[in-house]
């Protein structure tokens, strides 16, 4: 077997590990491994490296970093001004060079303008909000009416109190009435000729 270079031998061993050799090449690698302990050591080193690489976490490459990546999902946020400063700059740079994204951005913008121009078309949550506002206003109106009613009642009570204070109840002196009765009765013969005296409000 002709002596292989180091690079050719590493390439041959790597392909062997990958199962990418032909049958003849595989017989060559097996004869090499049987004759050379260095080749065995090199093969084991390659196997260790490959195992370690497999254990590494898989890397997700952002689409925008790819050469043909676009910013479709960021264009709406770009229109709404919801991107952070760095993203705004990146998307802006991309739009300056990407025709497809510019067209998508224009389409998005026209659609939003059209939706805003539609009369009376409001999302259900707006209706709920309006209902809440009406309820709140109704409660406020009722509260104001209660305050008014309370005020009127207080004023009426005050008026009645003033009226009661101003309209004196008659003062009735029962002892005087009793004397008037006894005096008058004493002028007429009757059983009242018996000495009787009214006793209202005895001391």
């Amino acid at each position: 077997m002709a002596r292989l270079s180091a690079a050719a031998r590493e390439e041959l061993l790597s392909a062997y590990l990958d199962g990418e050799l032909s049958r003849a090449e595989t017989r060559v690698v097996r004869r090499l491994l049987a004759e050379s302990s260095e080749a065995v050591t090199e093969l084991r080193d390659l196997e260790t490296v490959r195992r370690a690489v497999r254990l590494l976490p898989e890397l997700q490459v952002p689409a925008r970093l790819l050469p043909d990546g676009h910013y479709g999902d960021r264009l709406s946020a770009y229109l709404d001004g919801e991107l952070v400063t760095a993203e705004t700059r990146i998307v802006g740079d991309h739009l300056s060079t990407c025709r497809a994204c510019r067209e998508e951005l224009h389409t998005l913008d026209r659609a939003r303008i059209a939706i805003r121009a539609l009369p009376g078309v409001e999302p259900p949550e707006i209706l709920d909000l309006r209902r809440d506002v009406e309820d709140a206003r109704r409660r406020i109106r009722i509260g104001r009416m209660a305050v008014w009613a309370g005020g009127v009642a207080a004023a009426l009570f005050l008026l009645m109190s003033l009226a009661a204070a101003g309209r004196d109840q008659p003062s009735v002196d029962l002892a005087d009435l009793g004397d008037r009765h006894v005096a008058r009765a004493s002028a007429t013969s009757g059983i009242s000729i018996l000495p009787a005296l009214s006793e209202a409000n005895p001391p």
Partner: protein, 310 residues
Amino acid sequence: MILRRLGALGAAALTLVVFVGPPAAADELSDYLEHADDAVYSGRRIVFTVWDGQSRFALLDVEHADGMSVVTRYGDHVMIGGGKIRPLSSGDGGIQFTQWTQPDAIDRYEVVVVGPVMHAGRRARLVEVMEDGNLRARLKFDQQTSAPVVTEVFGGSGELFRYSAMVEFEPSAVSMPGEESDTADYAVASPEAMDLPAMASHYQLVDSYAAADGSAQGFYTDGLFSFSMFVIDGRADLEKMGDGEPFMIQGSEYRVSAAPMELWVMWTTGSDTYVLVGDLPPDHLEDVLVDIPRPVHRNWFQRAWHRLFG
């Protein structure tokens, strides 16, 4: 008639030496009462009234002469008679009625002279007053002086309503003030036509008077009992008037106060306060109240409305 009287007297009367004369003429009751008014006597009288199951007592020192009585009331001497009343001890002015009308002849009561009896060791004459065949009153008159020494008044069911008796008696009076010494200032009340019922049950309105405070007094009598009805402008707070208690009479609520010698009834109508005071028995009182303005009880709103707008 004799048998009916005997039945009313009962067995006790049979033990007495009973003189049963013919029914006296109707005006004989007036004669007895007038003679009693002319009597001269003095002594101590106990009187009580039974109302609503309870009795009210009073003990009075009495001197009577010339149609006038001097009665000790609450430690004060009060002179009564001839249409006037005046406290003697305090020197305060009194009330005097200068004119009055005599009621029609008594024809409601039948007088039965039962005969001579004894009272406090003195000879007396027992007279029963019947009303529709029922005993209404029993009177004992001192035979010497004609003074009324015992009076019993019965209710419509025959129950004792009022009892009055002289427990000490002297056929003389020693400290009566003379007419010439009566120089006190009297508030004079003269008859004045008032808008009062002419009749209340069988009681006749004989006179009406207007007091200085604007109240009206109607004096009603049936010849034996009497009452005054006072009408005061405005609705008084009855709970502040005397010690009357709510009492239902003929379906209406009145405030009634029983004194030893008379009943007081108080109530309010739509705009007036009524006070009735008199010696009439309870069944008569109920009949009278039916014929005069009845109580009107206002609810809260009505009271407020009338306070505001009259």
